[in-house]
Every structure is written in C-alpha cells, then in structure tokens.
C-alpha cells in the first residue's frame, strides 16, 4: 500500500496543481505533515493523563491517511494538535513550512484559516445558518469579499451536490447532507490540509459511501492532504495509508 500510496500521491499532487490553476486565487499545494516526539497530557481529577506519548508521524503531501485506534487512544487529540486547535505541549509538528510549536493564538487562528479545513463527526454546522450561509461563514471569517464568497459557496454546493438545498438549515438536512455541507465548508478557503474527525461516525452506509467518495477525491480535485480519524474499516481501507494509535503511540496496523 505504501508504494501504491506514494504513486497515488504524486498523481494527486500533479492533478491538484493543475486544478488550482483554475481556482479563484489559491496558489499553494497540498502540504506534508510531520510530527516528532509529540507528547500531550491532560490534567484530570486523578492527575495528569498522557494521551500522546512521543508520537512520530509523517504524512506526505496529497496523501489520504486514516488514523484508527480504540476510544481514548489519542486520535482526536492528535488531530487537534495537527489542526492547531490545541497548543503543542512537547515535541514538534510541521505542516508544510509552518512549525506549530510555540505559535501564538492569533498565529494558530491564521494557520487554521489559511491551511486547514475541518470536518467533524457531528458536522459542526451552525444551526441558525443555512447550508449556504455555513459555507459562506468560513469565507467571511477569512475576509473574502461578498461576490467571491457567493461564487465560491455556490461552486462548493455544486461540488457536493447540494445546490438545491442551499437555503435549508442543518435541521432540515439528512446526516449525509449535513456532512457534505461540512465538507464543502472545510474546502471553502482552499485548505492544503483537511482533517476529518470520524466523518462517517453518524452516517448510515449509503451516506458513508457518498461522504467517503468525496473525501477520496479531495487530494485530486482540491489539492489537499487528508487526515481522517475513523473507527470505520471501510473508510480506513479506502485511505492511502492507515495509522493505528494505541496507548498514545503509533503502532503498525
């Protein structure tokens, strides 16, 4: 799988470069992710809890990687650290040219806005906003102009096949539709890295396959690296590579 994955990655990046040329201003490509001696602890009532213990990780640019493991293995924490949702306590993480260690809160926000797109298990859509508005919000946060926002949001709704549902609020969408909106939102600012936390965790098989199809196309069509945390063997099997976390360490799957 490693060789096939590598070959696939190169192909993805090449296609991605070509596709970015037709975008609305993005010039960057998918990024590689590298973590070294990553250790993370939480303070609990019973004392410090080590969730990640000297984790070394490498994800190539344009790769689609699945991280699996039992509950509490540290998958979500690893994703949070790579995504800049949490500050690095010990060790280093490099995403492209960005070293996330020691970044300020504003710098992390800038990193999340410019480099990362998140997909959450429970979608993370704002229920007061329509599908269109949820996508537009990510563009508004990035300071995009209204016209560009409208064009990009509609383009993404088309891409996930939900143009007809643009005016619906999350409560009026099915689980699969919500996750597709969430993926569209994650892609709004042309991220170079998409992080998905159990993206199919709340979906039935049909919706799972549809979302999975979308995720698989991201490296090629949207020029981004994809790291997903999953319990779903179908998703893990569809990835270029599977990494397993156990007891806070990466082990062979």
């Amino acid at each position: 799988m490693g060789l096939a994955g590598s070959t696939g990655t190169v192909a993805c990046v090449v296609v991605a470069r070509a596709s970015r040329g037709t975008g609305t201003g993005a010039t960057a490509d998918a990024v590689a992710v590298s973590a070294r001696a990553l250790t993370h602890r939480y303070v609990t009532g019973d004392g410090p809890l080590t969730v990640l213990d000297s984790v070394d990780l490498d994800v190539s640019a344009g790769e689609f990687v699945a991280i699996t493991g039992a509950s509490g293995a540290g998958k979500t924490t690893l994703l949070s650290l790579i995504g800049g949702l949490d500050a690095v306590q010990r060790g280093t993480i490099r995403v492209g040219h960005d070293d996330l260690s020691g970044l300020s809160r504003d710098a992390l926000a800038r990193y999340r806005r410019a480099t990362v797109g998140f997909v959450f298990q429970d979608y993370g859509l704002l229920d007061m906003l329509t599908a269109y508005e949820n996508i537009e919000l990510a563009l508004a946060v990035a300071g995009e102009r209204r016209g560009a926002r409208r064009r990009r949001a509609e383009e993404l709704l088309d891409a996930v096949g939900l143009r007809s549902r643009r005016g619906h609020r999350p409560a009026a969408l099915s689980g699969g539709e919500r996750q597709r909106v969430a993926i569209a939102r994650a892609l709004a600012n042309r991220p170079r890295l998409v992080l998905a936390d159990e993206p199919t965790g709340n979906l039935d098989d049909t919706a799972t396959h549809r979302v999975l199809d979308l995720l698989r196309t991201l490296p090629v069509q949207h020029a981004c690296t994809v790291v997903t945390v999953t319990h779903n063997t179908v998703v893990a099997g569809a990835a270029d590579r599977e990494l397993r976390l156990a007891g806070g360490r990466l082990v062979s799957p």
């Binding site: 999340r112 998140f118 993370g124």
Partner: protein
Amino acid sequence: MSWRDAIVFAARGVRRRIGRAVLTVAAIALASALLSSLLIAGGVARSRVLDDVSKGGPLAGIRVDAAQPVVGELQDGSGEDIHGAPKTIDNAAIANISKLAEVKSVLSVMVQPVLVIPPQPAVVATAPAKVKRPVAVSKPLPYQDGLVGADLTKASELPVTPIAGRLPQPDSMTEVAVTDGYLRELGLHDNQAKLVVGTELEYGSAREIRSLGAQSARGRWVRAEIVGVVAQDVDSHESVLAPIAAVRAARAWTINGDNPAELGTPQSPYAALFVVADSLDAVPRVRQRITTAGYANSAPETLIANVQRYVHVVEIVLGGIGLIGLIIAALGISNAMLAAVRERRREIGVMKAIGARDRDVRRVFLLEASFLGALGGAVGTFLGWGIARTLAAVVNNFLQSQGLAGVGVNLPLRVFAIGVFGAAALALVAGTIPAVRAARLPARQAMGDR
C-alpha cells in the same frame, strides 16, 4: 471577519435566541424607561419651577420700570421692586438700553388706563354643563383697569403663560387676553378660565375736552374678543393684555385731549421694558448698566440661580436612581450572555476551527450585548417618555384645577441619547466579561467534550 459580517452574525445570534433576547431587552427597556421618565420628570419640574420664578419669561429677563433707581438699593436678585421717582421711557431710552453690552433684546410694554366692561349677560349663561362649580350670577360691573400692550410677535420673551386659549394676534385690534384679575372681577375661580375665552369685553379710554369753559369727557370704545387667559400679569396690577398697537391707539386718544395727566395717563410713553441678557450670568452686569443709565430694574436672577442649583441636585438624584436600575438590568445582560457563552461553546469552537480569531469572537458577543442594550434603551426611552406624558396629563389636570399653566412634556435629545447610548454602553460593559470568556475558549471546543 469584517465589522459588517460580525454585525450580521451577531444579529443572527440574537434572532436565534429570540425569547432570551426579548426578556433581556425588556429588562433593559424597563430600567431605561425608569431612567428616562425620571430625567424627563426632572427636566419638566425644572422648567416648571423656573417658569414660575421667571413668570414664564426668559430666565435672563430683566424688568426695567419707568422710574429712577433708588440710590444704593440695587435689588438683591429676589425680584422685589424698588422704585425711585418716575422717569420717562421713550424710544431714545429704548435705543440706549438696547446698545448696552450683553443685552440680547429689549421689549417695550405700554399701559393705558381704561374702563373695562365685562360681557353682558354674565359668563354664567355660556358656562358648559360639565362645570359644576358656582359661577358668577350677578351682572359684573364696569371697572377701571390698565390695558397692557406689548409686541406679541416676541411673546416668548414676555413673562406671560397662557392657561386657556391663546395670546392675541400681534396685529389684531380686536383681540385681547385677560389675567386672573379679570376672572376675579367676574367672580370666577381660576379653574374656570376657559369660560371667558370666546366672550367679549369692551374697554374705553377717555379724552378730556374743554370748550367754552365747560369740561367734558368722551370715550373711545373698543369691543374685543377674549382669546385667552394668561397665568401671570405682564404688569402686576393690570388685567387685560392687548397687542401694543391697540394700546397705542387708546393712549393716543387720551393724550391728544386736554390735560391727559388728570385722567391718569402716565407721562412715560412706555410703562416698562423687558430686557433679555445674553445669559443668566450676565444679568447682574446688565442690571448694573441699566441702573447706571438711570432706570430702576428688577430680576430674580439670584432666585433663579438658586433654584437651578437645587433642581440640578434633584435631577442628579433622579438620574442616579434610574442609573441603578440600568446597572441592575446590565447585570441581567451579563448573566444572560454568560449563559449564552456556556451554551455556545461548541459553536465558538467551530468558529475558531474555521479560522476566527479571539477578537472576532469577542466582537460578535460585544455587538450582541450592545445591540440588546441599544434596543432596550431605545424602547425604554420611548416608554419612559410615554410614562412621563401620562404623568404630565395627571399633573396638568391638577394644575388646571388650580388655575395654573400646565406642563409640556417633550423628549429632549439629551435624554434620548442617555437612554440609548447609555444603555448600549452599559450593556457593552456588561457584555465584556462574557465576550472575553467566549474569546478565550480554546479552539478544541470544536471537537465537543471529547
């Protein structure tokens, strides 16, 4: 995130929790209503008291009498008249006083002795059925009085306040207003002022004619409609107010006869002047200059200044009470927003996950707080205005029953600004802690509680 996007997003946040927003706005509105109604009431009380002290004229008004000042007796500002020997006020005197420093305007007053014949039959015949108090039943007799004339185009500078009807048209020769002295001549109470409005009276000025050793008098009679009743005398002893042209004509009739002084016509063309100084502070200096010019004068500037001070203290106390209410409401905003932050942890996390900075989140929450505050402030200010108007209606009923001028209630821009911007500012302060707390929430909240 731009300000515009933050405003739109904050508005959506408010709309989503409309029930809580309504309750928060209602709390602010009630507190703001309390504050604004107290401030309006304080303002009305201030103007009413000052009106009373200044007799409806400008606060910086000075009355100049056709008399010399008493040496060493410049009034102490209590408004008490101290007159010296009579002295003529003519157009030259008016011109001189007008040129004095810090004099804003000069209004002349003319008084002519006349015989007043009240309406016949008595007013009782026209009394509306709803008036239950006893009204005059005997025929009122003609009486001697003074007809006061002033330039009514500058009525706002005169110490007169209509309590019923209106002032005469400035150029009318057949319209007059009367004072409570006229009501008493008719045996009417002050609260029956409306009864005389629309009735007619006659006034006559006399001319003495001597021919072939015989002495006779002829009268010049004018039938005039009473168009209003004023609360205060423009001249303390007179009861009929007319445009100055009508009084000038009456005076011309008398002084063109023989020996007009015998008929009580004053030698001075003008009985008094109302001088308005540039400001209340300038009144003592202007009075000194008028005294130096040789005219007795009086003004209640010390009394007005004292009243202003006392009323200001009352306004501060009332404003303080309202402010306490507003602060309590602001605490309500703070509480509601803290609850909102707790409920929206995930949403805040998601916003941060898609790149929102701490200040973007803080801005959204501060905008929500100030929006709720400003809306509550605006609603409350108008509510307070309504409350003040309702109270004013009750007070006016009482004042009219006492034969006094009512109070007018308007919404001063200052009160509106305090109500809206004050509430918004307080809400902003109240929303600061929740907003900062929201901004400091870690972005990992996007992952939920896992």
